[in-house]
């Protein structure tokens, strides 16, 4: 079935297709229409779920944690300040190994108040033990929501899927909704291996002495390694069943390209058209789309970028005092390649607080990349006002 949906509705419909059983959520612009849509879906009886209308995001995530521990499939959504308020519970969900799925609408952090997109909210949660997937289209949002459960439940780690404020959250596109029967085949009902069970009682989360804690963390790392495979498999299976796949990274017109632009989120779509134009004009430039931040697809990135002349990372975020987060990640995985295969990696800071990243900006970056001295590759801010 095709429907015209916003990115937010796509996330809600994804949760509906996945038959989320408990929704625990709190409103925040620009996420609100996700939970309004779900409230509507639940009220109309289209989804047999319990919607806990909590009083804060801290409780929203605590609610998912509790319900998931009881053995139910859960969903929530948030953005920006709300995600930040959840921080303690993000760690909690991950260390408790609960496969919660959450949509986060990327929105810049306050103060001053902004409701517009950038990635600082979700990137600041990089180290909480959640898988993170950045989406480019409404279809990808819906499909990734369904895939997220498949991956999360395979490795017992929570998954965050991420969409840009307004460019996706409030923009309509035609979206294909997978049929209920096929979805149920792809994603069978949630069967937790361990949960709060009076017939098989266990105590969760008690104090862990110094000689055991590290092993718990190590097991999470192993689960993340497993997630690299699980994410590919979830996407392959999805493609086999529904004819659409995305990859945890995507190469776009990269064959033989000397220069590479690396993007995430909706900047990717704009960059595709710029790459088309520039290739037409004879520039040797292609695109690498990053979808997955955690686990970081290091091997794939190394393989794609090694031996290129130069790489430009478009960072719609800033870790002030260091630079864009995607560029740090990519530099770090590229570092131990032999020097002759290791291209200089330029960090372009773009589009903070929802500023448009126009084709003109992106073209400027691609041309700048060809000529800027390597010693100046750190933090190039694009489109700054005087």
């Amino acid at each position: 079935m095709q429907k015209v949906l916003t990115g937010n509705q796509s996330a809600a419909w994804g949760a509906m297709c996945a038959k989320a059983q408990v929704v625990s959520a709190y409103p925040i612009t620009p996420q609100t229409t996700i939970i309004e849509e779900l409230a509507d879906i639940v009220a109309k009886g289209l989804l047999d779920a319990k919607f806990i209308k909590v009083e804060s995001e801290h409780s929203a995530m605590a609610g998912c944690i509790g319900a998931q521990a009881a053995g139910a499939r859960t969903f929530t959504a948030t953005s920006s300040q709300g995600l930040a308020l959840m921080h303690e519970l993000l760690h909690w969900a991950a260390l408790a190994r609960l496969p919660v799925v959450m949509a986060n609408v990327n929105r810049a952090m306050a103060p001053g108040w902004s409701i517009w997109t950038d990635q600082n909210d979700s990137l600041a949660q990089r180290d909480t033990g959640w898988l993170q997937f950045y989406c480019e289209s409404n279809q990808e949002v819906l499909d990734t929501t369904i895939q997220a459960y498949k991956i999360a439940e395979a490795v017992n780690l929570p998954v965050m899927l991420i969409l840009d404020a307004f460019f996706l959250s409030h923009t309509y596109e035609a979206v294909d909704i997978p049929g209920q029967e096929a979805t149920s085949k792809y994603l069978p009902p949630y069967k937790p291996s361990i949960y709060l069970n009076v017939d098989d009682p266990h105590a969760f989360g008690g104090i862990v002495p110094q000689d055991i804690y590290m092993e718990f963390r190590y097991k999470m790392q192993l689960a993340m390694d497993e997630a690299l495979i699980a994410a590919d498999k979830a996407d392959d299976d999805f493609k086999a069943m529904f004819g659409r796949g995305y990859g945890v990274v995507e190469e776009y017109r990269l064959d033989g390209a000397d220069y590479v632009l690396v993007t995430s989120g909706t900047v990717t779509s704009t960059t595709r058209t710029v790459i088309d134009d520039l290739q037409e004009k004879g520039h040797s430039v292609g695109l690498l789309k990053m979808k997955m931040l955690r686990p970081f697809p290091a091997e794939k990135v190394r393989k794609i970028l090694s031996g290129r002349k130069r790489v430009a990372v478009l960072d719609r975020n800033i870790s002030v005092g260091m630079g864009g987060v995607w560029s740090q990640e990519i530099r770090s995985v590229m570092y131990h390649l032999p020097e002759d295969q290791r291209p200089p990696i330029y960090d372009y800071i773009v589009g903070l607080g929802g500023r448009d990243v126009t084709p003109e900006f992106i073209e400027e970056i691609a041309l700048d990349l060809e000529k800027r001295p390597v010693k100046d590759c750190d933090q190039v801010w694009i489109g700054l006002k005087e």
């Binding site: 409103p27 612009t29 409230a39 509507d40 639940v42 009083e55 001053g112």
Partner: protein, 304 residues
């Protein structure tokens, strides 16, 4: 100073307009009227703290501000502690003659900021905490809060899922903290509102003023009816005006002839789905709440 002539006991209203025109509130916004009156009373030696809420927007986008007093915007859940801490900073630097006002919506008060509100009241921080109550999260587009009344439509209580839980009783909760002063007021009674701000300014410690604030888009009401809605809320006893001193001494501020709750509900589209029986149920629970309040009044008198 100018008196409002139609009132029995004349209330002095300052001429000064500390809140400017050019704010970005919707037409008919009760919270905008409340701020105008409050600032006239509080005067310029006032600092206002806004958590996320409509007023965080109403005040104007950077670099504008509609309030010509210092404004500090804070995280949604932190209005009370932020104000309390500003008070501490002012006190320790010797600036004691300044009103510190936390100005929060019902969501910021009844829900996400509730724990901090309780803590601040328990510490008896010397601030005026204002909750302008439009009975839902209006900034984000009309989602339910725990101040949303039984029966109301919101976007998270749609269709037959209209709100089935009652509104929290904020004044009773705050009274249980035994704070020096708590009061309800609303914009249809400017003299009452002004008098209560004045009183709050004269008291040391934690003061809470709960203002019922009509919201035309959120209540699905006509812009021209905001004052009427505010008045009907009082006359129908849905929102009685009273004060509580030290958490134990209740005092009714006015007792106008009782109006049926239906008149109040009829002004607002958010209740339009309700059946006759459901309207009767609201009437019944309103009467019960009123009886309970009257009991508190009586007990207070007996103690006196």
């Amino acid at each position: 100073m100018r008196a409002l002539p139609h009132l029995k006991q004349f209330t002095e209203v300052a001429e000064q307009e500390i809140m400017h025109s050019g704010h970005v509130a919707c037409p008919g916004c009760g919270a905008a009227i409340a701020m105008r009156l409050a600032l006239k009373t509080l005067g310029r030696r006032t600092i206002i703290v806004f958590p996320a809420c409509c007023w965080a927007v109403i005040d104007g986008p950077f670099p504008y501000s509609a309030c010509s007093v210092p404004v500090f915007q804070v995280a949604f859940e932190t209005a009370s502690i932020s104000a309390g801490a500003i008070r501490a900073g002012l006190d320790i630097t010797g600036k004691k003659d300044i009103n510190v006002v936390a100005w929060a919506g019902d969501g910021g008060t009844f829900d996400i900021g509730f724990g901090q509100l309780s803590a601040c009241a328990e510490r008896n921080d010397n601030i005026i905490y204002v909750c302008y109550d439009n009975e839902a999260y209006m900034n984000t587009g009309i989602q339910r809060s725990s101040a949303t009344p039984w029966g109301s439509w919101t976007t998270t209580t749609p269709g037959t899922d209209f709100k089935k839980e009652r509104k929290k009783n904020l004044l009773e909760i705050m009274a249980a903290h035994r704070i020096p002063y708590a009061a309800t007021t609303t914009v249809a009674y400017p003299d009452d509102l002004i008098r209560k701000f004045r009183k709050a300014m004269s008291i040391d410690g934690f003061k809470l003023i709960h203002i019922f604030s009509p919201c035309p888009p959120g209540h699905k009401a006509l812009e021209k009816d905001s004052i009427l809605e505010s008045r009907y809320a009082v006359e129908s006893r849905v929102f009685p005006l009273y004060e509580v001193e030290h958490g134990t001494h209740y005092k009714l501020s006015m007792d106008p002839p009782q109006r049926p709750v239906r008149d109040y509900l009829a002004l607002q589209g958010r209740f339009k789905h309700l059946t006759d029986e459901q309207r009767d149920f609201i009437q019944k629970s309103t009467d019960e709440e009123w009886a309970r309040l009257m009991h508190f009044m009586k007990v207070s008198e007996a103690v006196e």
